[in-house]
């Protein structure tokens, strides 16, 4: 009974958000294009033969960056910006009355956006293969499934981190600047611009303890068939989710107590 109710709620939310997202398909296409930085990086790597020093062939590196592009496409999170806007405009109050955590709404929004984005990402990948026909490969089904799971876990980690930041909106008006701050280490350490293998030893010694390499580097390595520790990576992802989730619940309950509606 209860699970049926939850299913129906999630299904309805998804359906509403998907049709909402379809309205903005041009926007989403543009957003997909804005994610092509990994390809520029690939160009620098291969054009200057930088990959020889890290023992990755041109083909493997181009697959890596293509997968990094894909993983990034399906793990983009912007919940803090939506939540900030909603909380500044006072839209959070009606959401709080509903018997559903408002973050489910944002969660459905993100999932719906990913579904809308999927065809555009495929088109970009298609163009990538036209320019780099030698890097075409078909991952086997098990690996594909595992990398979808790990991409989703990476999305969950980022969603939880951003939701925690978003809850800071209850205390300060501009939580998004904190998010922009957090985005910098994510950009440079996650493997989007350079694979983590290529990092100098003094960074590699501690980086695997942080969540960053599990956001892009790990799923991208998994999907592209580069060497990686599958069980270790997945368990670290799950561990981070288990660490972040209680933190989110705590800050959410503290925040809603602190929340005062507009005009009160």
């Amino acid at each position: 009974m209860i699970s049926n109710l939850i299913n129906r709620k999630i299904f309805t939310l998804l359906k509403v958000q998907y049709s909402n997202m379809l309205e903005y398909r041009v926007e989403i296409a543009l957003w997909a294009i804005s994610g092509i930085i990994p390809f520029f990086m690939l160009n620098i790597w291969t054009n200057n033969n930088l990959n020889e020093s890290i023992n990755i062939s041109d083909v493997m590196l181009s697959r890596y960056f293509l997968c990094a592009f894909f993983v990034r496409q399906f793990s983009v999170v912007w919940v803090v910006f939506s939540f900030e806007e909603d909380s500044l405009l006072g839209k959070v109050s009606p959401y709080l009355i509903q018997p559903l955590n408002p973050f489910f709404r944002y969660f459905a929004q993100h999932l719906a956006e990913q579904i809308t984005r999927f065809p555009f990402a495929l088109i970009i990948a298609f163009f990538f293969f036209i320019f780099n026909p030698e890097s075409i490969w078909i991952p086997n089904l098990g690996i594909l499934l595992l990398s979808i799971v790990s991409t989703f876990l990476s999305f969950l980690i980022q969603f939880l981190i951003q939701s925690i930041v978003a809850c800071l909106c209850f205390w300060t008006e501009k939580a998004s600047s904190i998010e922009r701050l957090l985005f910098i280490p994510t950009l440079f350490l996650s493997g989007l611009l350079a694979p983590v293998v290529s990092f100098p030893a003094y960074v590699k010694s501690w980086i695997y303890l942080t969540p960053f390499p599990y956001l892009i580097d790990f799923p991208a390595n998994l999907l592209s068939g580069n060497e990686t520790n599958i069980s270790g990576g997945l368990s670290m992802q799950i561990l981070w989710i288990f660490l972040l989730f209680p933190l989110f619940k705590k800050i959410w309950s503290e925040g809603t107590k602190k929340y005062t509606a507009m005009g009160s």
């Binding site: 930088l50 701050l181 910098i184």
Partner: protein
């Protein structure tokens, strides 16, 4: 069109927007940390590229640092003026408030491009200059008058090109209403301005000098600093900047003909 009136109006703009931005003091601190971190991150990325290579696209590490410095200065300028103002155009058009701007007895492009200011960008500009002075010391560049004029000319041309690019995309909103993400695309393309143009493959080099002249924005000023620049390149940059500025003006006047206010 008298200059004194515009200077007076600009002083008022400065006063009001500084007053409102200084309300969020911690925000400025967070933005400062973000700027420093993103510079550190880029230098870290560069150091990965130079780990086992002495040269990238014919540039040494110390020389490539100049590009980072100039990028940081230009990015600071973008964050101070272009970003807060030109993203506002999107809002003006969507909410129909552009009418109020057009009715004012003042040039609309002036009003729209300079209304707001974000003081945290100043700090980024200062960081950029600090790095630039450091680079001048490291590369043992001799300062003289002709060098100073040339670098001033090229940097101001870069600013003009950058402004025009932002302005073009924001003006396109008149037709497409929601081009928020087009700005994201521009941002991600501008990101490659952090690297010397020669480090990219031939086709990308053509793309970034003909279609989107990012090449001109950072690489040519840096070449001037290193004394590598040839006269025709500088002349070309001046021409490109003038063409861009004039076209952006024409484009704005042209686009306004298509603007219909909210209720018409």
């Amino acid at each position: 069109m008298n200059l004194r009136k515009y200077i007076k109006v600009y002083k008022k703009f400065l006063h009001t927007s500084l007053a409102s931005e200084l309300e969020y003091k911690t925000n400025i601190l967070v933005d400062l940390i973000t700027a420093i971190l993103s510079l550190v991150g880029s230098i870290f990325l560069l150091s990965i590229f130079f780990q086992n290579n002495g040269y990238i696209g014919g540039w040494k590490f110390e020389q490539a640092l100049i590009i980072q410095a100039i990028y940081t200065i230009l990015n600071g300028i973008t964050n101070t003026w272009f970003n807060p103002n030109l993203t506002e155009i999107v809002k003006h058009i969507r909410e129909g408030t552009l009418d109020f701007v057009l009715l004012k007895p003042i040039d609309s492009q002036f009003f729209i491009s300079l209304k707001k200011i974000n003081p945290s960008g100043f700090l980024e500009i200062m960081i950029g200059f600090l790095l630039l002075f450091l680079c001048i010391r490291i590369n043992q560049i001799i300062l003289n008058l002709s060098f100073l004029t040339l670098s001033l000319i090229t940097i101001s041309c870069s600013i003009c090109i950058l402004y025009s690019l932002w302005f073009f995309i924001s003006t396109a909103t008149i037709w497409f209403v929601k081009t928020w993400n087009a700005i994201e695309v521009l941002r991600s393309f501008l990101y490659i301005g952090r690297f010397p143009l020669n480090s990219f493959s031939f086709s990308l080099r053509i793309f970034f000098s003909v279609f989107i002249p990012i090449a001109f924005i950072t690489t040519i000023p840096s070449e001037v600093f290193l004394g590598l620049s040839v006269l025709w390149k500088i002349l070309l940059e001046v021409i490109v900047a003038t063409v861009f500025l004039i076209t952006s003006r024409k484009f704005w006047l042209f686009a306004l003909k298509f603007y219909s206010s909210a209720s018409s």
